[in-house]
Symmetry: C2
């Protein structure tokens, strides 16, 4: 190997990095549990620099509680001779095959996600329904302690099941999953985040978790489930199970997989909320980092399929074969659908709700972040601690749900109500709890219910005085706190439902308090606006939340008010902190590329952050050198230099990928002398051989078996060298280089020298080099400088 | 000037282009009236090449019927020393000012577009209403000829007014306007497309045109109107009217203007359809070429403002002060809102409608294109011909609308109907026309009505047998043909309404024919699905149309069927031709950059299409040379080369813009000797001086007055040179260069040499160089080659 290691000089300090240093300690920041630690970390650039290898494919992320390597995705089209040969020989029929297959996969994603979503709902409704039925029957016979034992016991068993699945099988399945999907679609593949085991645990863990009465939703997990399904379908078949149709090879690349997973995420939202348009918009606004019109259309198709599947399955369930899955289950809330008329006091109330939502939302995000950092420390201690934490929270939740209603006074049943009061058994608004016949406990109607039913009760407009002010207040406090302490335990846990619950309870509270002033809006609509405001305050999505809520409640006439509330709450909350998903992405240490470059990057150039040593390969290189480069570094891309005698002066030929080198070496097409041999390689290999394998399935350096003799031979890299890598001149503004990197979805960006007479490549920029932590580590003077 | 003209060699032919050749004949293709002419044109690359100047800012587009120059927009951030100085000195308060102003402008766009949209509706409802009232009163007294005279005469007067406005004041206001807005948002500024005069004519021309009974809509024009309003607000104040607040300068660039115009387009749709979410999605799916989450939010805010304004104004009109503006006007259609249940025959009928919509839609596009090309020839002959054409079409429309109902038999009024039958006066479904009392003419109910009311009647579910099969058939044929021959006349004319009219009539027809098979869907819903299918077949939008139709009809339960219909019709139509807006963009000769590179571009490299002569400037250049370069070429960007003695060997310093050079020369800060003088220039000039003026307002070469002595002096270009231009190596695949150009929204892309020892820049790629016409002109061998 040519020992062309170039060392970057910065601030007068030349940093010597040991080649063999494998202790990759990137993204250490993610371990820091407070901002002050991060600051301290940034202020020690040398430490940071010493312990990292540049242009590496392995960074570290916290998934679940373990530390795993993460990999960048590559959306660049690798244009090498092999691919070009493939393009030239591609027949028209293959293109049609590809299109048909693309849509078939979209259809399959829709079908499977729809089925899973429905299964999830049926399972939850039956398990939780049975549990609640048992409890209320015992209550009816005045067996209060037995009722609590059954309630808390079954909760704990279910919680333990969910936690065990998460802790032992797939730690990546814990949490919402939306931050991970978001990071994946930004180009960061965290370990096993979309693996089949994660899919399995996500589905069953979510069912157990939601049934266990936790204040968690099944919506976030559904998004993750949809993405896992899409990823599984996009693996390009499996050699193990003999599913290798020739066409499937088109999907063996990061670009097509990204598209499929975007469809999967949209399908997940569509299945969770029965909101097909909302699903598309969610994928567009929150999940995807790259978007184009063609994808809009395919995503739309997928969510339409989900909607049709769900509708058909619900029709099937009409004939009472789905157990306790009544008309509840798949959430679709009834709100007052009369035309709401509103006047100035109403508008003021709405603005108040918006501001309140923004404040409460940003506080929620702050507290969730704090709790999450604490839990991460606990969870890191091992599976036993994870399960213990889950059991603790489960007990706490059970105590709240069963204990708090005792403080509520019984309310006489309303006269002339269409609904039965108090209700017996599973469904209904009016839980009798400890009350005498003819009375109901309003707090029990909210707490001792599935989350979906509690939301339905809060949105209901039928009986304005159904819930007392004190009840709503207690419920809000309870749910707000439980929501904060629940997220982060080792259970698949969505954030939508806790947020909607808390939001609708304070919305209804405001409605009750200001009810006398309002003329047109009833408490149900106030409750809806409350939910919107709190969602806007935590998640900071606007358009997609608006559409999801409209599809949930089927009331288009609320649109202008909902938009107003969302805009206010988002604006207020944005002035305090970031959205909850962005926070979690950051906390997990996933190197997310923002669409905008940081302002201080305008004062740096590309050459300032690219750091050595740079491993370059000659276009016809000795096998031993390549092997050494692969073994000694974890770089994923190597610049290839054309050198004399093939050209007059050294020039940049292109970039070659580690995975391609491995395949080439495995093929052992070497020559004794240093000569151009590309045509022979083109004849033997096919572009398909170099297609990207599923995560964790590619060749490794250890798989190569090369003899001493072979090590001394030469191999022609021309056929597999990407001759059109994107390049920037070293004096290019770092901000503009970052925009280029982000907009085109690159993994490597070559930095070329400005002045002639130097080696043809200065360095390679990777995702890591644009991370604020890295740049500020090198240039701490920008930390407190307020550049615009 | 250094005579460094480099000539590109291709195919062995070195083409000599005269420097003074000012007859820029780019995009001649647009004049070709048939595909065969285009083919012939492409096969003569030499002719094409001889007559064009490279790197020019002036291309030619057909706007209205005249030939105007078009200009590319530049979304690149020009990082020169002046800007960097400005960034460093920028205060925090200025950033807040900018943010506040940004949102204020979004608010203003929403308010103004809402008001204009409402005014438009009131005016149309009153003018058209009065006309129809007069006609029906005369009919009632059996004065059939007088009635026709009044009807046709008032139509003709209104049509002439609209045509005169278009022909004499703003030819750019003719047509829908959506294609032009789409092209603008892609980076192509056609002459006066968003000028104040165009805004004026668009508003009043649209009112007159729609009132004149043409089969045109006011929706497309509203989108254009919204964009014009946004452009006017984004001019960054006006020196003429002393509106130059310092903050407004932030909007004097193409990036911020683009964002504002995107908001304007969304506001236009929102105002036209009262569909705020649909407006956002329209802007996203059809109008905008670049999109980011922040823009989603701002657009959403704008459309929310529109919705609130419209709602408030409609409330005001409740008290009968708006004349004939009843509950009609702003379209919001009532469809049957009972839960539609559908079975297999229904689904088959829906699929049939989808396929039909796709076939009819692609035929419609084909015919509109043909008619448009014919009309362009007529319109080019002068304003008189334009007006004559409009009058002819007006007469034809009047004859159809008044004549065809005579062929319809009278139908006895339904018994037990809630509505009055036959109706007297303006509103109502049941027009008496020539019938006896107690009967109505169903064809007259459709033809002798405003377009909005006709759609409302077609969507109505109240009386299934209201329209006979023959009536629907005649109406469909009439509207389909009139729609085709009307688009392209010199009147602001939207395409939405003709398409919805034709679509809903054949939808209802299918509903009537298959009504006996169907169990759950009534004719009104069939009509809605028909409209959706035809919209999908012509415009090829899916998500936004779906949401617009949902918001129009307020019936979320139709969502799955609507999605199905849209997907089918788009798929079917896409296999024949492109969407109608794309076709018009192409026909108008606007160089629209597609998101995907053409497949044959993969087999070319950047150096293959960049053509000489290249005018480079030295970093410290003689004033005379710069003046000569500005005068002799129409290039918009000049590469700046650092040369000895300032550096060791020539290297690329960056790119300087024509407009910046003009400002610098106007300032006359020259030196006698060839020396670095940048700091002095930085002291005197401010970045604001170089901000982009409104279209047509910048300095011109003719404005410079330089003495002989000054011509011999030197000027330092460093402070205004963009030192971070995006570059590609000459061997970069053309497809990848195109992706870079398109994704980053560039105007110039520098091509640098691969091998050392050559001049530091090979050429500059502009939008034009990526156009298929240009590339295929150079390489005709790719024309019939089917590359994947």
């Amino acid at each position: 190997m040519d020992e062309k290691s170039s060392y970057c000089e910065r601030g007068g300090v030349v940093v010597d990095i040991e080649e063999n240093d494998k202790s990759v300690l990137m993204m250490v920041e993610s371990n820091a549990s407070s901002f002050s630690e991060r600051e301290a970390f940034i202020r020690e650039p040398l430490l940071n620099l010493k312990s990292r290898v540049v242009n590496t494919s392995s960074q570290i992320a916290i998934v679940g509680a373990k530390v795993y390597p993460i990999e960048s995705l590559d959306y660049e089209i690798i244009e090498n001779e092999l691919i070009k040969q493939d393009w030239r020989s591609r027949k028209r029929v293959e293109i049609y095959q590809y299109i048909v297959l693309k849509w078939t996969l979209a259809l399959l994603i829709g079908l499977l996600t729809g089925f899973v979503g429905f299964f999830n709902n049926i399972a939850v409704e039956n398990i939780a329904g049975f549990k609640l039925l048992l409890t209320s029957n015992l209550m009816l016979h005045q067996k209060h302690f037995q009722a609590f034992a059954v309630f808390a016991g079954s909760n704990m068993i279910l919680a333990t099941c969910a936690a065990a699945l998460c802790a032992f099988i797939a730690p990546a399945a814990a949490g919402s999953g939306i931050p991970e999907v978001k990071a994946y679609l930004n180009g960061v593949d965290a370990h096993s985040i979309l693996a089949p085991s994660t899919l399995f645990v996500k589905i069953f863990g979510s069912i157990f978790g939601v049934s266990a009465g936790f204040v968690v939703g099944k919506e976030g997990p559904m998004v993750h489930t949809g993405s896992c399904i899409a990823n599984l379908l996009g693996q390009g078949g499996s050699r193990k199970y003999h599913l290798t149709w020739k066409c499937l090879r088109y999907f063996k690349n990061d670009r097509d997989r990204r598209d499929l997973i975007t469809c999967g995420a949209a399908a997940g939202v569509a299945a969770a909320f029965r909101a097909p348009v909302g699903g598309v918009l969610f994928a567009l606004e929150e999940a995807a980092s790259w978007w184009r019109s063609a994808l809009l259309w395919r995503t739309f198709f997928t969510t339409a399929v989900v909607a049709v599947v769900l509708r058909a399955l619900i029709q099937v369930c009409r004939s009472d074969i789905c157990g306790l899955f009544g008309q509840g289950g798949l959430i679709m809330f009834d709100v007052n659908s009369t035309i709401p008329t509103y006047n100035t006091p109403d508008l003021l109330a709405v603005i108040l709700i918006g501001v309140l939502g923004g404040l409460l939302g940003s506080l929620y995000n702050y507290l969730v972040d704090k709790v999450l950092r604490t839990y991460t420390i606990i969870n890191e201690k091992g599976p036993a601690f994870k399960i213990l934490l889950v059991i603790t929270i489960s007990l706490l939740t059970s105590c709240c749900a069963y204990g708090l209603p005792w403080f509520a006074q019984c309310i006489p049943c309303p006269t002339g109500s269409e609904e039965k009061c108090p209700t017996q058994g599973r469904a209904g608004n009016y839980k009798i709890f400890q009350c005498q016949p003819g009375h109901y406990n309003d707090l029990a109607s909210l707490f001792l219910n599935t989350n979906d039913d509690a939301i339905r009760n809060l949105f209901s407009s039928k009986n304005i005085n159904e819930f007392r002010i004190s009840t709503l207040f207690i419920f809000f406090i309870g749910i707000y706190s439980l929501g904060i302490i629940t997220y982060g335990i080792a259970v698949p846990s969505g954030l939508f439902i806790p947020v909607i619950l808390a939001g609708s309870s304070y919305g209804r509270l405001v409605g009750r308090l200001l009810g006398s002033l309002s003329s047109g809006l009833d408490v149900g609509l106030f409750s809806l606006l409350g939910a919107a405001s709190f969602l806007g305050g935590t998640m900071r999505m606007t358009v997609s939340l608006c559409v999801i809520l409209l599809e949930l409640t089927d009331n288009l006439l609320m649109l202008p008010l909902m938009m107003l509330v969302l805009l206010i709450s988002k604006s207020v909350a944005d002035s305090f902190n970031k959205g909850v998903y962005d926070q979690i992405v950051k906390m997990k240490g996933l190197p997310y590329m923002e669409i905008h470059a940081e302002p201080y990057m305008r004062h740096l150039v590309a050459g300032d952050v690219c750091s050595g040593p740079l491993n370059t390969l000659s276009s016809v290189e000795k096998v031993g050198n390549i092997f050494h480069a692969l073994q000694m570094t974890r770089h994923n891309g190597f610049p290839v230099i054309d050198e004399p005698p093939f050209v007059d002066a050294p020039e940049l030929c292109g970039l070659v990928l580690r995975s391609h080198l491995l395949v080439l070496l495995k093929g052992k097409k070497f020559t004794k002398n240093r000569e151009l041999f590309g045509s022979e390689i083109l004849r033997i290999f096919h572009a398909f051989d170099f297609a990207k394998a599923g995560s964790g399935k590619g060749l490794k350096v250890e798989d190569l078996e090369l003899s001493e003799e072979e090590m001394e031979m030469y191999v022609d890299l021309h056929p597999i060298t990407n001759t059109s890598p994107y390049t920037v001149v070293e004096t290019m503004s770092l901000a503009k280089a970052a925009v280029l990197f982000r907009e085109l979805g690159l993994r490597h960006l070559c930095v070329v020298p400005k002045t002639p007479g130097r080696p043809p490549i200065v360095g390679i920029l990777t995702r890591h080099d644009f991370m604020p932590e890295h740049v500020l580590g090198l240039y701490p003077q920008f930390i407190n400088h307020n550049y615009s």
